[in-house]
C-alpha cells in the first residue's frame, strides 16, 4: 500500500511518538508536535498510538491513494477534500485506489495530521520513524515530502489484530484551537537572574506568537524583560542573559537579550548559552503546537504537584480515548 505525493505541502513530515533517549548527543525527541491530535487520528483508523502519521503545517499535501486506504484527519481545523469534495475532519474516511486527498483553507491552528490504517511505513531509526530534518535522519529519507515521492503504508488487511477504530469521537475529547491561551509553567532554571520587575513582566504580560515558530521552537513578541546586571562568570558570554552553554529542557523558555521569549518544542536544540527562566509543563506542550501566529499567550506559574496532576488528567483522557477503540 502507498500514497503518491502529487503536491508536498509546505512542510509535511512523517512523525510518531518520538525518539527519546538520544538528547545527550543532541538528537531531539521529535514526534508529533500536537501529540493528542495525532493520537486521536490514529485511534480513528484503528491504529495503536505508536503508528507513524503525516504532520502537515499550514499548507497540506495532495496525495493519491495507490490502493484502497482508510484515513482520518485530526488537528487544526482545515477543509478536507477527497477528489475535490469536502469531507469531514475527525472521522474515518474510506479511500478507493486512485482517490485524491487534498486540503483547503485552515480555520485556525497550525498543524493537522493524516493517519492511515496500518501507519506510514518508513524505516525505524533509533527507535522511531520521526523525521529529524536537521540531522537528515528518520522519516522519509530524513526530509519533508516532495512531489513525486511514493510513501509506503503498512498493510494490515487480514491481520489478526486489525481493528476498525474509534467508532465516534466524543466532542469533549476534540482539541480546540483558541486565539487566546493560558499556558502553565514551572518557574526555575535561571529565573533568579531576572529582576522582580522582569519576573512580573513575564507572568503578567500578553505574549503574541510570532510567525517565527517551527518544530524547534516558538518565538513570542511582547514587552522587554529585565535581567539582573552582573559580572559574567568565565565562559558565559557578555550579555546578562548568557550562561555557560548548558542543556535545554524541552519546553523551556529563554529570553535572549531580554527580548522575544523562545519556547523550545519537540525538535529542540539540546543546549546553548541562553538562560532559561521557566518550563512549560508536559500537559500543555500540545497547546503551544496548536497555536497559530497571533495567538495571545499568558504564562501561569504552577507547582510541581499541580503539573503532575495535570499530567495525570491528560493520561486519563488518553486512556478513555484508547479504551473506546474497537
Amino acid at each position: 500500500m502507498a500514497f503518491d505525493v502529487l503536491e508536498p505541502g509546505l512542510a509535511t513530515t512523517v512523525q510518531d511518538r518520538g525518539r527519546p533517549g538520544y538528547y545527550n548527543v543532541g538528537i531531539p525527541q521529535g514526534g508529533a508536535m500536537d501529540m493528542l491530535s495525532a493520537e486521536i487520528a490514529n485511534a480513528l483508523v484503528g491504529n495503536t498510538p505508536d503508528e507513524a502519521i503525516l504532520e502537515c503545517t499550514y499548507l497540506g499535501p495532495k496525495l493519491r491513494a495507490a490502493d484502497d486506504a482508510v484515513v482520518a484527519i485530526g488537528g487544526a481545523p482545515v477543509e478536507v477534500m477527497v477528489n475535490g469534495d469536502i469531507r469531514e475532519q475527525w472521522t474515518r474516511l474510506e479511500l478507493t485506489a486512485g482517490d485524491e486527498l487534498s486540503f483547503g483553507r485552515m480555520k485556525g491552528g497550525t498543524r493537522y495530521y493524516i493517519a492511515v490504517r496500518g501507519g506510514i511505513d518508513v524505516p525505524v531509526v533509533l527507535g522511531s520513524r520521526s523525521t529529524y530534518a536537521l540531522g537528515a535522519m528518520g522519516g522519509f529519507e530524513g526530509r519533508a515530502l516532495r512531489a513525486g515521492d511514493r510513501v509506503a503504508v503498512a498493510d494490515v488487511r487480514g491481520s489478526a489484530n486489525a481493528r476498525i477504530g474509534l467508532p465516534h469521537l466524543e466532542p469533549s475529547l476534540r482539541p480546540s484551537f483558541p486565539h487566546e491561551i493560558d499556558v502553565r509553567v514551572i518557574l526555575g532554571l535561571y529565573d533568579h537572574r531576572l529582576t522582580e520587575a522582569g519576573m512580573e513582566t513575564l507572568l503578567a504580560s500578553d505574549w503574541t506568537l510570532t510567525p517565527v515558530a517551527d518544530r524547534t521552537g516558538l518565538r513570542y513578541s511582547g514587552p522587554p524583560v529585565e535581567w539582573r546586571p552582573r559580572t559574567q562568570p568565565f565562559g558565559a558570554g557578555s550579555d546578562p542573559s548568557n550562561i555557560v552553554d548548558a542543556g535545554y529542557p524541552v519546553g523551556s523558555i529563554q529570553i535572549p537579550g531580554g527580548k522575544e521569549p523562545i519556547i523550545l518544542h519537540r525538535d529542540a536544540v539540546s543546549g546553548g548559552g541562553y538562560a532559561m527562566v521557566a518550563t512549560v509543563i508536559s500537559a500543555d506542550m500540545d497547546l503551544l503546537a496548536r497555536s497559530a501566529p497571533g495567538t495571545v499567550t499568558r504564562f501561569r506559574a504552577v507547582t510541581m504537584d499541580e503539573a503532575l496532576a495535570a499530567r495525570k488528567e491528560l493520561a486519563g483522557l488518553r486512556s478513555v480515548l484508547w479504551g473506546a477503540v474497537r
Binding site: P20, G21, Y22, Y23, N24, V25, G26, I27, V125, L126, Y132, L134, G135, A136, M137, G142, V185, I186, G188, L189, P233, F234, G235, A236, G237, S238, I243, V244, D245, A246, G247, Y248, P249, V250, G251, S252, V269, S270, G271, G272, G273, M276, T279, V280, I281, S282, M304, A307, L308, R311, A315
Partner: protein, 300 residues
C-alpha cells in the same frame, strides 16, 4: 578564586518542568566543574534506574530527563544529591577515556567563502574570522592563532545543540585559554564540519546550518554519519562522547583531499588511543600533562 574552589560549592538543583531536573555544578566553566558533571552522569547511568530517559552532561551543568509516572521527582533529586557527595569526595578523580586526532584544514576556502558572505555586521568586517581571533587574543597573526589552536589538547565538555556537535574546552591554564566573542548576528549558513569558536569553547559543526561561532577551518572527516557507512560509526551514528580528548592536527589541501577520498571509499578511520584522564594532574600542571599525553599518543 581557583577552579577547584568554584566547583567545590554545592550544586544548584532546579526543575525544568515536570520532566527535567537541571543541576548547575558551577556558574563558571572549568575542568573541575565539567569533570563533576560527567562523573555524576556516569554514576547515574550505572544505576540503570527505571524512569530515567536522558542523562545529558554539559559544560558546567547536568540535565536529566525523567518520566514522573515511573520515578518521583524527589527520588531522582535525592539520588543525584547522594551521587554529588560521592563524586566530590573522590580523592583521586580519574576517568577512562580516549584521545582522538582530528585533521583540520585551517584557513580553508569553504569557511573563508562563507565568512565573506556574512561580513556585514561582523566585529571585523574588513578581515577574516582568524584575523579577528588573533587580535582578540593579542597574537601577532592568524598563523600564530592557528598554532595555539592545535598546540594543546581539548576536552569534549558537551555534545549537543544539534546531533553530534562537540563543545571542546582547552586543557590550559585559564589565563591562556583562547577566547573569541561569537558573531554579533548569527549566520544563516555554516559549512558542515566547520571548526568554530565562541567564548572559550571550540566546536565542530556536525551538520550544515545556522551558527554564531567564529570559523577557523574545516575538519576533514565526518563526525555524524546517520547512514553509518564509515567503520568508526558501526556502533553509533555520533562519533564524540563527553570526556573525549581531542588533538587537532593541521593538514594541507592535498592531505585533506586524500582523507576525503578515504571517506568516500568508506575506509577512513580516526586515529585514537585509550587514556586515563587524571583531573588533579591536568589542573596542577596543564602544560606538562598536555605534553605527556601528546607524547604518549605519538608513540601509539
Amino acid at each position: 578564586m581557583s577552579m577547584i574552589d568554584d566547583a567545590a560549592r554545592g550544586a544548584r538543583y532546579t526543575w525544568g518542568g515536570d520532566e527535567f531536573l537541571f543541576i548547575e555544578i558551577a556558574e563558571a566553566m572549568s575542568l573541575a566543574a565539567n569533570f563533576t558533571s560527567t562523573a555524576m552522569a556516569a554514576r547515574l547511568t550505572a544505576d540503570d534506574l527505571d524512569g530515567i530517559i536522558d542523562i545529558c552532561p554539559s559544560n558546567a551543568s547536568l540535565l536529566i530527563r525523567f518520566d514522573p509516572d515511573r520515578i518521583a521527582p524527589q527520588d531522582i533529586e535525592a539520588r543525584m544529591r547522594a551521587i554529588e557527595v560521592e563524586v566530590r569526595n573522590l580523592s583521586h578523580p580519574t576517568r577512562e577515556t580516549r584521545v582522538v586526532e582530528v585533521p583540520v584544514w585551517y584557513d580553508d576556502p569553504y569557511t573563508r567563502e562563507t565568512g565573506a558572505r556574512f561580513r556585514s555586521g561582523h566585529q571585523r568586517p574588513d578581515g577574516g574570522d582568524l584575523d579577528f581571533a588573533a587580535e582578540e587574543n593579542h597574537l601577532g597573526s592568524a598563523a600564530e592563532f592557528i598554532r595555539r589552536h592545535h598546540g594543546s589538547l581539548w576536552l569534549v565538555s558537551m555534545v549537543g545543540f544539534v546531533a553530534g556537535l562537540p563543545f571542546m574546552f582547552q586543557i590550559v591554564p585559564q589565563e591562556q585559554q583562547l577566547e573569541v566573542p561569537k558573531y554579533l548576528t548569527p549566520r544563516t549558513d555554516t559549512p558542515a564540519l566547520t571548526v568554530g569558536h565562541g567564548g572559550c569553547f571550540a566546536c565542530i559543526y556536525s551538520v550544515r546550518g545556522a551558527g554564531g561561532y567564529q570559523m577557523f577551518g574545516i575538519a576533514a572527516a565526518p563526525i555524524f554519519d546517520p547512514a553509518q557507512s564509515l567503520p568508526d560509526f558501526t556502533q553509533f551514528m555520533v562519533f564524540f562522547r563527553p570526556g573525549d580528548i581531542v588533538k587537532f592536527r593541521p593538514v594541507d589541501e592535498s592531505e585533506y583531499r586524500r582523507i576525503q577520498e578515504q571517506v568516500n571509499d568508506g575506509t577512513y578511520r580516526y586515529r585514537q588511543a585509550s587514556v586515563t584522564f587524571d583531573l588533579n594532574r591536568a589542573l596542577a600542571d596543564p602544560h606538562g600533562y598536555n605534553t605527556e599525553i601528546m607524547e604518549y599518543f605519538d608513540g601509539v
